[in-house]
Symmetry: C2
Subunit: 586 residues, 2 copies
């Protein structure tokens, strides 16, 4: 047992054996070998509970501060990024140019086979940045950053699924959270969750690496882009991948101290279910973001976007949203065709999964280098057209983001009214009719029942309507909100994707000056122009994919919404017609 | 020109040439011969305008303080009311016994043929009491009491119809106005508007006059009560009288300084329209209250119960309520059969009307003496049964009053929501859909219109729904509110009616003691019991009339309400079905 200083405030999740601590507080470590990123501590009032390890300054904690990856370069020569004054951090060239091999891509991924860390959790700051930026809800929800996973932590540890339950109400937060707007304001580089931020000092995710790469890596990956009716389009598979997320099962770890939920995912290709926990989805998300994030908006997982105050409701909601997320990924021809996505859906056994994981984590075609795999089957685009397209998409996604948020705000308000004051009012109307009816019953007047029976029935009808009104949002508004919520998340990724694109356009604009000052050769300039054209084809293909999905999704959700609304009003009308028929005036 | 002291606060009606004055303020009389109960005054700021005469202490005002009627007794000997210690005011016997002729009923009505005053306006205090008690809204509305009508005032002067426009919202006030409850609390005598309060010192409207009257007046009026299926019932005419109030026309008086509205009333008996101004309705109300108020609840005129901020809306509303009031009076077999009511509906010319008016004002069968015309064709009732019935009716009317007020409160709230936040919300939903649709239109993506046309239409549909929601209360809730409002007014009269009845029961209970102390003879006691039985038959007939009308009215209004509600929800469902059909997911 030893004393330790608390570094950050931590709020315990009730019923989770946790201990609330305050920054600066001194606690006594009662058990340091809990594992899973937690230690057991006792506060001055004698209360004992779990606290995340990285919230406490434990002098002798093994593995802390030893997680910085050793950069190792692969077989491609790194470009001299210092030529872009605007982007080169003043005091960081040493790292940029540090060569520890001949593969520059290996720096993006610390070798996971070493088992020293799970790369997305090794840097709490990076994780936090990712949360508050990629996920507009992240900055609002009370969840603490994922606890550090020490060197001894097993691959399939507990995850903090339950901590997410702290967040309340998925839509309300959407308005107060301005991280999305901030992101759009130009800070996209730092918010990008691609692996660049893991390499100390290399904080920019600019497209220079791809634009000026002397020799593009020759992998077997090829992502063709065709010219379709609507313009550049991805190559779509003949049959669309789909999967069903279902059957959540509770499991527990650490002698029941921590529990988790395992979901069953069944793809339509194999029809064979695989099991995954939320943390595996998160792993997949990180891989997809690393690999495709520069070209394809990869929406955040529904981690913090949970509603529901009860465990079952929470699980149902998370599953529904994981299903939505998976469906969207399945629908994307590039994502769904990727090796990492296939492994996630079709691994045969634990060993197969672990091998697949390791392989995916070693993937070097990540970040802006994804553009190197893209092969547009079309003539190079004029830089002016590239810029125009980019501007158009930028404006459109911004405008749609506003429109979607407006619907969410209005929908949220309507939801509140439909579940709050409105049914209460109908209930009161119903009660008032019934009360008057029972007064009438007391009149002692003959033939009174011809009125009172009908009035009581009318009163009950309004009480039924009250209940219908209160339950209706779950039947229609829910899907309208979920779809718009999903689009809000998706649209929140565009600023990053478009940001990379704009940065590339800016670089090409600088090309003449760079040639003039002999910083690059005229040939380099030609390469840059060609590559930015490839990037534009990618963006256009992605926008066309987005538009096509959007038109389908909004047609679908509006149909669903209106269908349920029609049913709702028809049912009310029918109920009232019944009530009406009971009154008589002879 | 002379200075005068302002006695009460008076708020000028904008656009009506009036002057706002404060109690205690000194003004200069600039024109005392305006007439119509008004004088022109100038305040210290030099502003000139009309002020009601009785709001200002004008020393030499002719006719002020000279309106006390000279009591004159008719051909029936007045009972010695001093025997009821509880009721006899200690220092008032002189007036009670003052005999100025042999007709005691003439004291209730100052001789109108003398033209000194219109009797309901001659006593501002009495008028005010009547307003705040009989009309629960009266105490809330800002209207000032009707101005004193001086000796020179013509019969058909302007009335202060426009002043009523100050009151806003008919239903909201119903809750804050507790005058109805106070009335029920036992202060019924002072609030009764029957002419008793015009005879100074005789402030109680107890039933003694009738119970102990030595010799009942023998008029030609006979009001039989039969034993019907439901118990004692009035004698109903074969065809029911009805009338239509329509065609309001604006006229003006005093060189355009004051304007009034004349309504056309057409009874179904003659089918010949007669014209009446609001003040004539008020005159009729006063006559009916004087004559039948002790036995039959005569609801207040809709004077202060006006809604509508615009002149047209106000006139429409007042007309609608006058129609409701007239319909209710027409439906009452006793009221509709009375001479005064018939004169009002069928007078042939101005002279006929004036003659009829004078005759009605001379009517001596008023107050509790109405019971002397009632002839129950049934055996006398046991006093115990009389009391039980009375208790039952008292409880019922009180309970119904509560029930009706609950509906008014709830309806008022619902009205507010339906015309306020709810349509705004639907409008915002509609706008949000349309906004998103117009963003989509800007995508430049092919085939976008398959979505955007439908979304725009859906958005417009919700805007239409918003308008429907806002307009719906006028179509359904309005009648539900009006009916309940009418019943609230009617129920507010019952405490007085029942109060007279209870007082009579109490008197009969005292009979034995009075006989023992030789204050009355055993024969008197028998007469009292018989007369209280007659009163009970009257109350029962009236309650049965009330119940029968109530059952019809509530069946009718509920039918109407639900019918419109069904239409409303069906129309919305149909509109949404249309909107739904425009979306496609192929």
């Amino acid at each position: 047992e030893e004393s330790a200083q608390v570094l950050y405030d931590f709020s315990a999740e009730p019923g989770n054996n946790e201990l609330t601590v305050k920054e600066g507080e001194t606690v006594t470590i009662t058990n340091q070998s809990i594992g899973g990123g937690w230690i057991e501590a006792q506060n001055s009032r004698g209360e004992v509970g779990l606290v995340p390890e990285d919230y406490i300054e434990v002098p002798s904690f093994p593995g802390a501060g030893t997680t910085a990856p050793t950069p190792s370069f692969g077989n491609v020569a790194p470009p001299d990024l210092s030529i872009f004054d605007a982007y080169a951090p003043p005091a960081a060239p040493a790292q940029n140019q540090a060569s520890n091999g001949n593969d520059p891509w290996s720096v993006w991924n610390a070798d996971p086979s070493g088992g020293t860390n799970n790369n997305w959790a090794s840097n709490p700051e990076g994780t936090q940045t990712g949360k508050s930026a990629a996920d507009p809800w992240g900055s609002i929800s009370q969840g603490h950053p994922q606890a550090y996973q020490g060197p001894g932590a097993e691959d399939d540890e507990w995850d903090d699924e339950w901590d997410d339950m702290k967040s309340t109400g998925g839509y309300a937060e959407s308005e107060s959270g301005e991280s999305g707007a901030m992101q759009r304001g130009g800070a996209h580089a730092s918010s990008m969750k691609i692996s660049l931020n893991k390499f100390p000092g290399f904080s920019k995710s600019g497209p220079e690496l791809y634009l000026l790469c002397k020799q593009l890596p020759k992998g077997k990956e090829k992502l063709p882009i065709y010219l379709g009716e609507v313009g550049p389009v991805w190559s779509y598979p003949e049959s669309q991948l789909d999967c069903v997320v279902a059957d959540p099962k509770k499991g527990s770890k650490m002698y029941g101290l921590k529990s988790y939920i395992e979901y069953q995912i069944t793809p339509n290709t194999t029809n064979r279910p695989v099991n995954h926990r939320y943390k595996h989805f998160d792993w997949l998300y990180e891989r997809l973001l690393d690999k495709f994030g520069s070209a394809i908006p990869i929406p955040s997982l529904p981690d913090k976007q949970v509603t529901g105050r009860f465990e079952e409701e929470f699980i149902k909601m998370r599953m529904e949203r994981l299903q939505g997320w998976m469906t969207r990924m399945c629908r994307h021809p590039v994502v769904s065709g990727s090796e990492v996505f296939q492994i996630f859906l079709t691994y045969k056994d634990e060993k197969d999964w672990k091998t697949g994981k390791r392989k995916a984590e070693k993937d070097e075609t990540v970040g802006v280098m994804i553009f190197s795999t893209i092969e547009p089957e079309a003539p190079d685009l004029d830089p002016v057209e590239v810029e125009q397209k980019c501007e158009q998409f930028s404006k459109f996604t911004k405008a749609m983001d506003d429109g979607v948020k407006e619907i969410l705000t209005v929908g949220q308000e309507h939801w509140k009214r439909c579940t709050g004051p409105l049914p209460k009012e109908y209930q009161r109307i119903g009660k008032a009719f019934q009360n008057l009816s029972s007064v009438f019953t007391s009149s002692g007047y003959q033939g009174e029942s011809t009125l009172t029976d009908a009035m009581t029935a009318a009163g009950k009808t309004y009480e039924e309507i009250a209940q219908m009104v209160a339950e209706q949002p779950k039947k229609d508004l829910h899907f309208l909100m979920e779809t718009n919520n999903e689009y809000k998340g998706l649209l929140g990724c565009f600023p990053d994707t478009i940001g990379v694109h704009k940065a590339a356009i800016d670089k090409v604009k600088e090309a003449d000056k760079l040639v003039a000052t002999s910083k690059i050769t005229p040939q380099d300039k030609g390469t840059m122009a060609k590559r930015v054209s490839t990037m534009s084809y990618t963006l256009q293909a992605e926008m066309n994919h987005f538009h096509s999905n959007r038109i389908y999704d909004y047609n679908r959700v509006m149909q669903l919404y209106l269908e349920e609304q029609v049913k709702f009003y028809e049912t009310i009308a029918e109920k009232l017609r019944q009530a009406h028929s009971q009154f008589t005036t002879m």
